[in-house]
Symmetry: C2
């Protein structure tokens, strides 16, 4: 699978790339580059962090993986390239996939916006996860001004 994807992209098939692709595909946690690095390292103790960054970046540019950028901090990658979107907690930065069927349906067929040629749409829902909602309640009740 990973091999075919690389072939299809016209890229050289290297063990590092195979491993990175597999790790990202298996990950369910939207890992960041460093995390992918740690996992790939178990198979390839000599792989370099730079290689992981380079590869993820190229894969994202090619649309093979999805790059989520929760406001702040580092980029997160998602091996799921099927149409789906993300909710991210603005407080703890947890990311979770969401499907918004109606939304995707609406976009299907839109190929042009003004002078821009549409490649894809990334929907990021800014939200508060359950845990952080509670924490925020507490903080709020003990301060004068909210927000």
């Amino acid at each position: 699978m990973a091999m075919e994807r690389l072939r299809h992209l016209g890229w050289a098939v290297t063990p590092q790339r195979l491993s990175i692709l597999r790790v990202v595909a298996d990950a369910k946690d939207h890992p960041r580059a460093e995390t992918v690095f740690e996992r790939v390292r178990r198979e390839h103790p000599h792989i370099s962090l730079a290689t992981v960054h380079r590869t993820l970046e190229r894969l994202a540019a090619a649309g093979e993986v999805c790059k989520v950028t929760p406001l702040h901090d580092s980029a997160r990658y998602d091996g799921n390239s099927a149409p789906h979107h993300h909710v991210v907690c603005v407080r703890c930065r947890e990311v979770q996939d969401v499907e918004v069927a109606e939304f995707d349906h609406h976009w299907r067929g839109i190929e042009q916006i003004g002078e821009f040629k549409v490649l894809g749409v990334a929907l990021e829902v800014r939200a508060l996860c359950a845990a952080c909602q509670q924490k925020t309640e507490h903080a709020r009740s003990s301060r004068r001004i909210a927000r």
Copy 2:
């Protein structure tokens, strides 16, 4: 205007903040922190870049300005806090506003997704601007394998 916004947030009204707010509100180019800094500097030669970062960040957290994160590079800020979205060229990183009325209509009223409490939605359309479309054509025709 800027002053009322600060008052409304319950923040101290400082000349630096007034200036930053005005610059972001007037900007039509989704400037990054450093650019805002350069502009504010014309009025306040002694302002610190840290202040600009701090202020933009707090404004974004308060929902007063919109933070766009075009894949890669630095955050871009948009003074337009009315509901709207962004198209970003994946090649040159140009950002442009888009309105997607039907989309906003669809989201109105959605306050919860699973355990997440929705605060807002950011839609980023990955695209190629006209100029980059051409450049990409050329690159493509002179290489063996595209992408």
